[in-house]
C-alpha cells in the first residue's frame, strides 16, 4: 500500500470534514475511494454501508478500533458499491458517511502521560494486502455461503512465520461474517494465538469482526486444551489429539445448536519445517479441512511443500474428500515496518492478560502497544490485586512434563507458576497413547480436560494449605475448575517486577552465564527449526506419522550387541 504522501492526503482529509466538532472527524466516502484507518477510538457508520478490513458494516454500526499505522496494521476502509448516494456538504454526493471518535474518557497509556494515538484515516490507493488475497477471500466467502460443499466449510491457514497468517485469518473471518451470523475459529497456534494468551489451543464462536493485533481481542474460549508450552514440540501426539478433540467439539457443538454448521477458520503455528511440518500434516489429516490456504513467502526453503503435502503416500484417496489447496503470496512487509518479535508479541499478550486479571470489564481495545512503563504499571497492579483463593486440598495439580513428582513438593512448583485451569480433567495422562484402536481416531481415554483459562498462581501458602490465583475468568466459571496444570509457560520478566515489588524468583547477584553455565540452556530448537534442512526433511517426512508414532515403539534391541 502506498500512503498518500504528506500534505495532499492531509488536504483531502480536511476537505472531507463535514461536522465542525473537534472531538470527532467525519469522512464522506466516494465510490472507489479507500482510507487507511489507524489509532484508537470508535468508528461509526452514519449512513451508507462500508467495508472495513473485509467486514461489511451497515448504517448505525459502531466498531471499537485499536490499530497500528503501517501497511499491516492499518485497517482498510471502503464504501461498498451499492451504497446509496448521500448529499454531503462541501463534497457533493458520497456513498457513505463515517465518523471517527476518540474514546471518552480518552484512553491514556498506563505509566505514560501522553494520550493514546487518536483515530485517524488517511486516503490510500490500495489495500494492505496482495490483490490475490482479495480474490481468494471473495471466492472462499462465496464457497462458504453457497453451501454446496459435501462437508462444512473449513479453511486452514498455513505458512511460515511472518507471511501474514494472522492477518489473513482475520480478513477471512470478517468476510465470512458478512454472509453468516457466526463463524467458528480454531486457534491452533499455541505460541502466538489470535484470541488467547500463549500456551493453549482453543475453539471460539465469533459474531463480531476482528480488527487489530491479537492482544487487542483476547476472549474466553468455547473450549480449549492446555498445551502448557509455546510450541507443540514437547509432546506432538498430545498436540495432535488435542486439535482433533477441539475439531470434534466444533462438529458436535454446531450440529446441536444451529441447523447450519458455521464455517470454520483454522489458524496454525508457523512451524512448517522438519517436525513442525509433521505435526501440521498430522493435524490436517485429522481435520481434513475443505480448504487449505498456503501463504508462500516465495522462498522454498521456508515454505511448506506444494500440493496436498499432508497426505501420507500409502494412504492417498481415502474416505475423506480431497481438500482444495489455495496458494497465495505472503503479505508484503513495508519498508522499515516495525514487526514485533515472537517474544515481544507474547509479552503484549501477557500484558493484556494481566490487565484483564485486574479489571475484567475494561476493554482490551485500549492497548496499542505496551511500553515498559505500562508493563511496570501492570506488574504493580497485579501485585496489589486481591487474588482468588482455594484450599490446596480442593484442587488437583498436574505437572505436564514430570508427572512423578512427590505430591508434597507440588506447592514449591506451583508458587508463581502460570497454570492452565481445567474443569473436567481427563483420566489418562496426555502423553500416553492408546493401546489399541484406529490410530487416526483419538480414543476417549485420550480426552484432555477442557481448559477454561489461564491463571497465575501468585502465591501458595503451604502451611495454611491455600492457593492464591490471579486470572481473567469470572468467579462463577472458576467454581468449576478442579485442576491446575503446570506446563512451561512463563510470564515475561517485565511483569514480575514493578512499583515497589519484585518477585523472589528474579534473583540479583547472579554471576555471568558466559562460560559458567549459570544461565538456563538456551532453546536452540527454534533456531534449528529455522535452519534449512530442506531436502532431507521433505524426503523423510512422509514416512513419519506423528499420530501413530506413540503406538509403534521401536523394537527392543539389546544394546550390548551393538557395542
Amino acid at each position: 500500500m502506498v500512503m498518500a504522501s504528506g500534505s495532499p492526503g492531509h488536504a483531502a482529509k480536511k476537505q472531507k470534514r463535514v461536522i465542525n466538532d473537534p472531538t470527532s472527524d467525519s469522512i464522506a466516502l466516494l465510490p472507489g475511494e479507500a482510507y487507511a484507518v489507524s489509532g484508537i477510538g470508535t468508528l461509526m457508520i452514519d449512513s451508507g454501508e462500508v467495508n472495513l478490513n473485509g467486514a461489511h458494516l451497515m448504517t448505525g454500526a459502531r466498531v471499537q478500533i485499536c490499530a497500528e499505522s503501517g501497511p499491516r496494521g492499518a485497517l482498510h476502509l471502503q464504501a461498498t458499491q451499492q451504497g446509496a448516494s448521500i448529499q454531503v456538504p462541501y463534497s457533493g454526493e458520497a456513498c457513505a458517511l463515517v465518523e471517527l471518535q476518540p474514546f471518552s474518557p480518552p484512553v491514556q497509556e498506563a505509566g505514560s502521560d501522553r494520550p493514546a494515538q487518536a483515530l485517524t484515516a488517511v486516503p490510500c490507493t490500495d489495500a494492505g494486502w496482495p490483490t490475490e488475497w482479495q480474490t481468494a477471500l471473495s471466492q472462499l466467502a462465496m464457497s462458504a455461503a453457497s453451501n454446496t460443499l459435501p462437508s462444512p466449510f473449513s479453511a486452514c491457514i498455513c505458512g511460515t512465520r511472518g507471511v501474514g497468517k494472522s492477518s489473513f485469518a482475520r480478513l477471512l473471518v470478517n468476510h465470512l461474517l458478512s454472509h453468516a451470523p457466526e463463524v467458528a475459529f480454531l486457534d491452533l497456534d499455541c505460541g502466538q494465538p489470535e484470541l488467547t494468551v500463549p500456551g493453549l489451543i482453543s475453539l471460539h464462536t465469533l459474531t463480531q469482526p476482528l480488527f487489530g493485533r491479537p492482544h487487542t481481542h483476547q476472549r474466553p474460549p468455547d473450549k480449549a486444551v492446555f498445551i502448557g508450552d509455546i510450541t507443540p514440540a514437547a509432546d506432538p501426539p498430545a498436540f495432535v489429539s488435542a486439535a482433533a478433540q477441539l475439531y470434534t467439539a466444533y462438529l458436535a457443538g454446531s450440529t446441536a445448536q444451529a441447523s447450519r454448521v458455521p464455517s470454520l477458520v483454522i489458524n496454525t503455528p508457523g512451524w512448517v519445517k522438519g517436525m513442525g511440518l509433521d505435526v501440521l500434516s498430522a493435524v490436517l489429516r485429522q481435520i481434513a479441512p475443505s480448504h487449505v490456504v498456503v501463504l508462500a513467502s516465495g522462498n522454498p526453503s521456508k515454505d511448506p511443500p506444494g500440493g496436498s503435502f499432508w497426505q501420507l503416500p500409502q494412504a492417498s484417496h481415502q474416505s475423506s474428500p480431497a481438500s482444495m489447496v489455495v496458494t497465495l503470496p505472503a503479505a508484503a512487509s513495508g519498508v522499515g515496518e516495525h514487526r514485533p518479535s515472537a517474544p515481544d508479541s507474547r509479552a503484549q499478550a501477557w500484558l493484556a492478560f494481566a490487565r484483564a486479571c485486574v479489571s475484567p470489564d475494561a476493554s482490551a481495545t485500549s492497548i496499542l502497544e505496551g511500553t515498559s512503563a505500562s508493563f511496570a504499571a501492570a506488574a504493580a497492579d497485579l501485585a496489589a490485586h486481591a487474588p482468588y483463593v482455594i484450599s490446596l486440598d480442593s484442587v488437583t495439580c498436574k505437572v505436564l512434563h514430570d508427572s512423578s513428582l512427590p505430591k508434597d513438593q507440588l506447592p514449591s512448583i506451583l508458587n508463581a507458576a502460570v497454570v492452565g485451569l481445567v474443569v473436567n480433567p481427563g483420566s489418562k495422562s496426555s502423553s500416553a497413547g492408546s493401546e489399541a484402536g484406529d490410530p487416526e481416531q483419538p480414543s476417549a481415554a485420550q480426552e484432555q480436560g477442557n481448559c477454561v483459562g489461564i491463571g497465575i498462581v501468585r502465591a501458595v501458602d503451604a502451611k495454611q494449605r491455600m492457593l492464591y490465583l490471579l486470572t481473567d475468568i469470572r468467579l462463577e466459571r472458576l467454581q468449576q475448575v478442579r485442576e491446575v496444570r503446570v506446563g512451561r509457560l512463563e510470564l515475561p520478566h517485565s511483569l514480575l517486577h514493578g512499583g515497589a515489588v519484585r518477585s523472589p524468583y528474579l534473583s540479583p547477584w547472579c554471576i555471568t552465564s558466559s562460560g559458567t553455565g549459570a544461565g538456563p540452556l538456551h532453546s536452540r530448537s527454534i533456531q534449528c527449526a529455522q535452519a534449512d534442512h530442506q531436502s532431507a526433511a521433505v524426503q523423510f517426512r512422509c514416512s513419519v506419522d506423528w499420530f501413530g508414532m506413540g503406538l509403534t515403539p521401536y523394537p527392543a534391541v539389546d544394546l550390548d550387541q551393538q557395542v
Binding site: V389, S394, Q409, I413, E490, Y505, P508, G517, Q562
Partner: protein, 534 residues
C-alpha cells in the same frame, strides 16, 4: 543488573542449602540435593551448571551404590549429560556469524579438554567406554564446582561485603558532612536537589559539593547492589558490627545526628526500612552472640538499643512532608509481638534468679538484652495504648508487663477480629495470670487456642473465593506485616534439606493470635518470677 535473572530457587539461602547438600560427603545428603534440583527443573529456568551437576552426581551415586543399571545405559546417560554441558557452554558463546570451534570456546571457558573429546566421540562416533566417561564426569564435576558453584558462592560473599563497605563509607561521609556546620542544615533534604553554587565560590563550599557528589554516587552504587524492593538487606547490613562499631567513640549527639541523616537518606531509596530495622534489632537482641566476650556483647546490645530507639524516635517524631517514615499500628503490633517473643526466647538462665536479688554479676549475659527488649516493648506499648485508646486499663493496678501483653493481644485482635467472647477469654486469662493463678490461666489459654484453631479450620475454602484483606506483594510472595514486597510463603523443601543448615534462625513472621497469647502469657508468668530490675 538491577532486575536480576529468573531462577527456580526462591532465595540464595535455598541455593546455598542445595550447594551444601550436593557437595556433601554423604550419599544421603547428596540425594536430598539432587531431589531438590529435580523440583527446580520442574519450575524451569534451571541453570545448565546446576542441571548437569545434579545429573552427574546422580549417576555417580547410582553407579557406586551397586550395579543396578546395565553398562550401556549408564554410558548413554553419562554421555548425554556431558554433551549437554559442553554444548550448553559453547553454544552460548557462538555469537559471531562464523561458527567457532567447540575446542576453542571450551578452552576460553576453561573446560577440560577431555570433555570436548568425549563429546565429540559420543556425538559422532559411538558411546565412549565407561572408564573414560567416569574420568570425564569427575573432571566435569570439578570444573562445575570451581566455575559455577564456588564462583557464585564467592560472588554472594563479595556482594554482601560490598554492601557493608558501601554503607560504612556512606556513614562516614554523613559524619564528615555533619562536621561542617554550613552543611548540616541541608543534610536531611533530598540529595538530588543541589543548588548550583555561584562560580568562584569558596573552597569550603566546593568541598561540600564534592562531599555531596560522592554521597550521591555512593547511594547510586548501593542501589545497584541492593534493589529498592529489598530494604531487609540494608537493615541487616546496617546492624553489622563493622558499621555499628565504627561510631562507637563518637559523642552521643554526633552519633545520633549521623544516623538520623543516614536513615533519612536511605529511606528515600528503600521505603519500609525503619520497621525492618527495628525487627532486625529485636531479632539480634534475642540471639545474643555466645562466642563473644561479655563486654563486647554489652556494647553490641547498647548499639542495638541506640539504633532501635533512634528508629522509633524518627518513626514517631514529627511527620516529614516529603517522606512518610511513620510505622503503622499494625506494624507496631507485629513488632511488639516480636519483642515479647524475643523476651520469651531469651534463655532462662540469663534471667536473674528470683530469690537472689542481692548481688548480680557485673555482666549478667542476657540481662542487658532483656533490659533493652523490655524498654523497647514498653515504648511500643505506650504508643499502642495511645492509639488503641485503651485508657481504662491504666487505672487498674496491673503490672507493666500485663498491660503490655494486653495491648498486644488487643491489637492482634483488631487486625484479625476474634468473636467477643474470645477477647473476654483472653482478658480473663490475662487477669488470672497476673494474679498468679497459673493453672487457671493455662486452662483459659488452652481454651482460647482451641477456639482460634477451630476458627481457622472453619475457614478452609473448598470453593474459590476472593481473598480478603489482601496487601500488595510480589508474585510468589504472601503479604507480610512489615515488608512492602511481601514475605516468602513457607514452601516445603525436600525432606531434611533444612537440617543441613548449621543454625536455625528463629522466625519472626506473622504470629497467629493463639501463638501470641501463649507468648504473652509466658511473659506474664516469667515476669512474676523475675524481679523488676528498675
Amino acid at each position: 543488573m538491577p532486575e536480576g535473572r529468573q531462577v527456580p530457587w526462591r532465595s540464595w539461602e535455598e541455593w546455598t542449602l542445595v550447594k551444601t547438600a550436593l557437595w556433601s560427603a554423604t550419599a544421603v545428603d547428596q540425594r536430598k540435593g539432587i531431589e531438590q534440583v529435580r523440583l527446580w527443573r520442574a519450575r524451569g529456568k534451571l541453570p545448565l551448571s546446576v542441571d548437569v551437576t545434579a545429573m552427574l552426581l546422580d549417576l555417580r551415586g547410582r553407579h557406586t551404590s551397586g550395579p543396578s543399571q546395565s553398562d550401556p545405559l549408564l554410558r548413554l546417560q553419562y554421555s548425554m549429560a556431558l554433551i549437554l554441558l559442553v554444548n550448553g557452554i559453547t553454544d552460548a558463546e557462538q555469537k559471531g556469524k562464523q561458527a567457532r570451534s567447540v575446542a576453542g570456546i571450551a578452552e576460553t571457558a576453561g573446560l577440560p579438554r577431555v570433555l570436548v573429546d568425549v563429546r565429540h566421540e559420543a556425538t559422532h562416533r559411538g558411546l565412549p567406554s565407561l572408564a573414560l566417561l567416569q574420568l570425564a564426569a569427575e573432571s566435569a564435576l570439578q570444573w562445575l564446582r570451581t566455575a559455577y558453584w564456588d564462583r557464585q558462592h564467592q560472588h554472594l560473599l563479595n556482594m554482601q561485603a560490598k554492601v557493608i563497605t558501601l554503607l560504612q563509607e556512606f556513614m562516614k561521609l554523613q559524619a564528615d558532612a555533619l562536621s561542617r556546620p554550613q552543611q548540616a542544615a541541608s543534610d536531611t533534604d533530598d540529595d538530588a536537589s543541589v543548588d548550583p553554587s555561584p562560580p568562584g565560590s569558596s573552597p569550603g563550599v566546593s568541598k561540600a559539593q564534592e562531599l555531596r557528589k560522592r554521597r550521591r554516587q555512593l547511594a547510586a552504587d548501593l542501589k545497584d547492589v541492593v534493589h529498592p524492593c529489598m530494604p531487609g538487606l540494608i537493615a541487616q547490613a546496617l546492624l553489622q558490627p563493622g558499621i555499628l562499631e565504627s561510631h562507637a567513640d563518637d559523642s552521643q549527639s554526633n552519633r545520633t545526628g549521623v544516623w538520623k541523616a543516614a536513615l533519612h537518606s536511605l529511606c528515600r531509596t528503600w521505603p519500609g526500612l525503619l520497621p525492618l530495622l527495628l525487627r532486625e534489632s529485636i531479632s539480634l537482641l534475642s540471639r545474643q552472640g555466645q562466642a563473644k566476650p561479655p563486654n563486647q556483647r554489652h556494647a553490641q546490645a547498647q548499639h542495638l538499643h541506640f539504633v532501635a530507639t533512634l528508629v522509633w524516635d524518627i518513626a514517631t517524631g514529627p511527620r516529614n512532608q516529603s517522606l512518610d517514615l511513620s510505622i503503622s499500628t499494625d506494624q507496631t503490633a507485629v513488632l511488639l509481638a516480636c519483642c515479647l517473643r524475643a523476651l520469651v526466647l531469651l534463655p532462662a538462665d540469663a534471667a536473674p534468679p528470683a530469690d537472689s536479688g542481692d548481688i548480680l554479676p557485673a555482666a549478667q549475659p542476657a540481662s542487658i538484652h532483656r533490659e533493652v527488649l523490655q524498654h523497647l516493648a514498653e515504648r511500643l506499648t505506650q504508643n499502642m495504648s495511645q492509639t488503641a485508646a485503651a485508657s481504662d486499663s491504666g487505672q487498674q493496678p496491673l503490672r507493666k508487663k500485663a498491660r503490655m501483653a494486653e495491648a498486644a493481644v488487643k491489637l492482634q485482635a483488631m487486625s484479625a477480629p476474634l468473636p467477643a467472647d474470645n477477647s473476654n477469654l483472653s482478658h480473663q486469662g490475662m487477669e488470672a495470670a497476673a494474679d498468679g493463678e497459673v493453672q487457671k490461666a493455662e486452662v483459659l489459654l488452652e481454651q482460647l487456642q482451641d477456639k482460634v484453631r477451630r476458627k481457622a479450620q472453619a475457614e478452609v475454602r473448598e470453593r474459590w473465593s476472593v481473598a480478603k484483606d489482601w496487601k500488595p506483594c510480589a508474585i510468589g510472595h504472601l503479604p507480610g506485616p512489615l515488608e512492602h514486597n511481601g514475605i516468602l510463603p513457607d514452601l516445603p523443601l525436600v525432606c531434611g534439606l533444612e537440617s543441613l543448615e548449621q543454625q536455625q534462625v528463629p522466625e519472626y513472621q506473622q504470629d497467629s493470635a493463639a501463638c501470641l497469647m501463649l507468648d504473652a502469657a509466658a511473659v506474664l508468668l516469667n515476669g512474676q518470677k523475675a524481679p523488676s530490675r528498675k
